[in-house]
């Protein structure tokens, strides 16, 4: 927009003038207009990320309230307030005392604490379901690989935010968690004990960890989270939103509703619903009643001591690892019993998340942009790997709850632990295999449907005595959905030697990628091609009925289509 456009009428109202002033200097109007007209596709699963975003907003609001009353100090005091009765006169840190004070003396304090904690749990759950949606639909493919990395980083920051916040009240339960963190740090060879002294400012627990965690929790991590959320959303707008496959939707357009009014209204509605649910939970369901655990003291551990759910996989991993794997080499202890379950296993899990988009890009050899999502069944190996990953995660989380499973289902904790040890290795493989089989089966069923149409249950007898069942062919929408995908074939690589018989460099690496590519795409179901469809139709001409409706309009209703520019 040019400031000298003569046709632009001079604004007359104060608001108009102010807007014009801004616009002449920042072009904010152009941006707004573009944003307002931006088209967003519509599907409930596209709102899963909003769960994380909006619970984060609630976390910020309730968190600001909590910082007004929390005192991050490990100095010791006797608790003087009347409530809770079980804490009267006890010796505790100022941090713990201020948490109790905030819960029992500050109006609305307990409500805010509970809203904050529930929001944290829902925040992480929102991130997980959102990541599942993105993974299983292949929304991480080019050009969105970078945004997947940003998202994975957000998830890890979320874990750290949760853990640091959970430790602040300085109660027995979270102190046990810190003790485990200390043990994990110390298990790292060579630098472990130095790092632990560095983190805790001396011998665990010391007098510094709570103030340090406070800074991390209210400044460092939120700042990083906010910045990365900004990048995440910016990239989302820049790359445009993905859409589910369907007639009329291509990699070159976005079918959906304009941001204003439709999408914005829905977003606002969703925000209020999420805020409402979190407030309701905070108001009616007790969470982390720290006065039950008591002020931190390194000696006691209560039965049922576990971290919040998103850290449960680490707890489970530690619980599954046999203790005998601690070895002593030349006077130095190597705690494989901690190092493997608490550093190596989570390291592997996170690495998988970080590298997967790039591995898939490499084994498909696909360098195009993708804006239409995959149906999970059409990429059986990816779907299988995703389910295998989730299975491992869930088994670890359950193993972290093995004592509660034992008491609630009348089982022996030893038997459960052994079952999970075996399941941790067998379960993911089995989950992978069965998921992949189901996907391939669904693809075959789709082929069947496209080629032969729906069964109608109507049997017709011909004059020559032949019986056939009438099949109704799919309409165009149905067919589009089922034939518009790509079944990648394993990579083809150049031969080991060039024309002059000289060994080619990089052949070995190529071979390895090819092998991986085979693992991905050896088994596949090709989509029905037009010629196959043609053949199927002429073959079974007489058992078809005309579709009852005319040629369907591909893009219908009030939906907008935004063309890729």
């Amino acid at each position: 927009m040019s400031t000298t456009t003569p046709t632009a009428a001079e604004p007359t109202t104060p608001v108009g003038k102010a807007a014009d002033y801004l616009d002449q200097r920042t072009k904010v109007g152009v941006l707004t207009k573009q944003l307002v007209r931006k088209v967003f596709p519509d599907h409930w699963s596209f709102m899963l990320g909003e769960i994380a975003l909006f619970s984060f907003v609630v976390l910020l609001i309730s968190g600001v309230f909590l910082t007004m009353f929390f005192e991050p100090s490990m100095a010791l005091v006797h608790y003087e307030n009347e409530h809770p009765a079980s804490m009267q006169g006890q010796l505790m840190s100022v941090a713990f005392a201020s948490t109790l004070d905030m819960s029992f003396e500050v109006r609305g304090g307990l409500l805010m604490r509970q809203i904050h904690h529930w929001s944290a749990l829902v925040f992480m759950a929102g991130i997980v379901v959102h990541m599942m949606r993105v993974f299983f639909t292949g929304a991480f493919r080019k050009p969105r690989e970078l945004n997947w990395l940003v998202g994975t980083m957000l998830m890890i920051l979320g874990l750290l935010a949760g853990f640091s916040g959970y430790s602040l009240p300085d109660d027995v339960l979270s102190g046990n968690g810190l003790r485990i963190a200390d043990g994990v740090i110390k298990s790292i060879p060579i630098i472990g004990s130095y790092t632990s002294y560095f983190v805790f400012g001396g011998e665990f627990p010391g007098e510094h960890i709570i103030p340090r965690l406070f800074t991390v929790h209210i400044l460092l991590i939120p700042a990083l989270l906010l910045a990365l959320i900004g990048v995440h959303l910016f990239l989302m707008v820049l790359n445009k939103h993905t859409q589910y496959p369907g007639s009329g939707r291509t990699d070159k357009n976005v079918v959906g509703y304009p941001a204003v009014p439709v999408f914005a209204t829905k977003m606002a509605g969703n925000f209020f619903i999420i805020f409402g649910v979190l407030a309701l939970m905070g108001g009616t369901m007790a969470i982390n009643n720290v006065w039950n655990y008591g002020p931190y003291d390194p000696s006691p551990v209560g039965a049922g001591a576990q971290p919040d759910w998103y850290m449960l996989f680490l707890e489970g991993s530690l619980r599954l690892m046999p203790g005998q794997t601690e070895i002593v080499i030349a006077g130095y202890t190597l705690s494989l019993n901690v190092l493997v379950p608490a550093v190596i296993i989570p390291g592997l899990l996170f690495t998988f998340l970080f590298v997967y988009p790039f591995i898939e890009a490499k084994v498909t050899g696909d360098k195009r942009e993708h804006h239409v999502l995959d149906r999970p069944r059409n990429v059986p190996t990816r779907t299988g790997l995703g389910v295998a990953f989730l299975t491992a995660f869930i088994i670890l989380a359950l193993a972290g709850s093995n004592d509660l499973i034992a008491t609630h289902f009348d089982m022996s904790i030893n038997a459960i632990t052994w079952a999970f040890r075996i399941l941790f290795f067998v379960g993911p493989w089995f989950a992978f295999w069965i998921t992949k089989r189901i996907c391939l089966g669904l693809q075959r069923k789709d082929r069947e449907l496209v080629l032969h149409g729906h069964e109608t249950g109507r049997i017709v007898r011909f004059a020559n005595g032949e019986y056939i069942e009438v099949h109704r062919p799919l309409d165009e929408h149905e067919r589009w959905l089922r034939v518009n995908y790509e079944a990648h074939a394993p990579l083809e690589i150049e031969p080991a030697t060039d024309a002059r018989g000289v060994r080619r460099r990089g052949y070995k690496a190529d071979r390895r990628w090819q092998r991986l590519s085979r693992f991905f795409f050896e088994d596949r179901v090709e989509p029905v091609t037009p010629s196959e469809l043609e053949a199927a139709h002429s073959h079974g001409e007489h058992d078809e009925l005309e579709p009852s409706h005319g040629s369907p309009e591909l893009v219908s209703g009030s939906r907008s289509v935004e063309q890729e520019h």
Binding site: W44, L48, G294
Partner: protein, 259 residues
């Protein structure tokens, strides 16, 4: 939610029933309860009834004179408190052989229990049944009790006494529905895998503080529904079921609104 309720129901039903039974008969018991001094001088009539009951119900395992068999330990010297605890919580006479003798609705009424206790107490000196005053939660200090509970009991029974798992299918039961008298007796006699907390380890006063702390837990949480007091795992489960359940339900609804 229902499944959880049903499970809890299943696990605690006997204890609830037991509590009801105890409430109904509580008043009667208060009058009958023998004080430590009385226990020693229980009437020979009681001891005779107790002996008969014992031979009918307990002798198969514990031997005709409670001297113990390969099946079950000797009861000589376990005291009236042990018998009262075991019989009034329904653990004895033991029925199923599982990882541990579980509490169930008591099979003996108050009088029979008292007679059995008198009989076993007559075999050798042992801890007596505590008096009402000894187990009065109102006399105890919950704050002291909290500190004692945290260092002595929480590792098995969970921070608020919601129960916890031990090895090989054994478990420390939830204490929230256990009677004050039974709590005292459990500490005094250390049933099965539980250690004995005699009066040197925990003085009678300290035991009363602990009872006061456990009693306070029955009032529920200041924060709302206590969700079984099981800590972060149940909280996480509820965050997924209630939180994400409602929110995703709403998202589907919003998503469906337009198309």
């Amino acid at each position: 939610m229902k499944a959880l309720a049903a499970r809890r129901h299943h696990r605690f039903a006997p204890v609830v029933l037991l509590l009801l039974a105890l409430l109904v008969t509580g008043g009667v018991y208060a009058a009958l309860a023998p004080s430590p001094a009385q226990a020693d001088t229980a009437s020979t009539e009681d001891i005779e009834t107790g002996k008969k009951l014992f031979q009918a119900n307990c002798a198969t395992c514990h031997g005709p004179n409670a001297e113990g068999t390969t099946e079950a330990p000797s009861l000589v010297g376990v005291g009236a408190a042990a018998v009262d605890f075991q019989v009034s919580t329904g653990r004895m006479p033991m029925q199923m052989s599982g990882p541990q003798a579980a509490a169930k609705p008591p099979q003996m009424d108050e009088e029979q229990t008292a007679a059995l206790a008198a009989y076993v107490a007559s075999l050798g000196p042992g801890p007596a049944i505590p008096t009402d005053e000894q187990v009065d939660a109102a006399e105890g200090d919950a704050a002291e009790g909290m500190a004692l509970f945290r260092t002595n009991c929480a590792m098995c029974h969970n921070a608020v006494g919601a129960g916890g798992a031990l090895s090989e299918g054994k478990y420390a039961p939830a204490l929230l529905e256990t009677s004050d008298r039974n709590i005292y007796q459990a500490m005094l006699t250390g049933p099965q895998s539980m250690p004995v907390f005699n009066d040197a380890t925990l003085t009678p006063k300290e035991k009363r503080h602990i009872i006061a702390y456990v009693a306070e837990q029955r009032d529920g949480s200041a924060g709302g529904l206590s969700l079984g007091n099981l800590g972060p795992v149940s909280e996480g489960l509820w965050a997924w079921i209630v939180g994400l359940g409602l929110i995703i339900g709403a998202a589907v609804w919003i998503g469906a609104k337009s198309s």
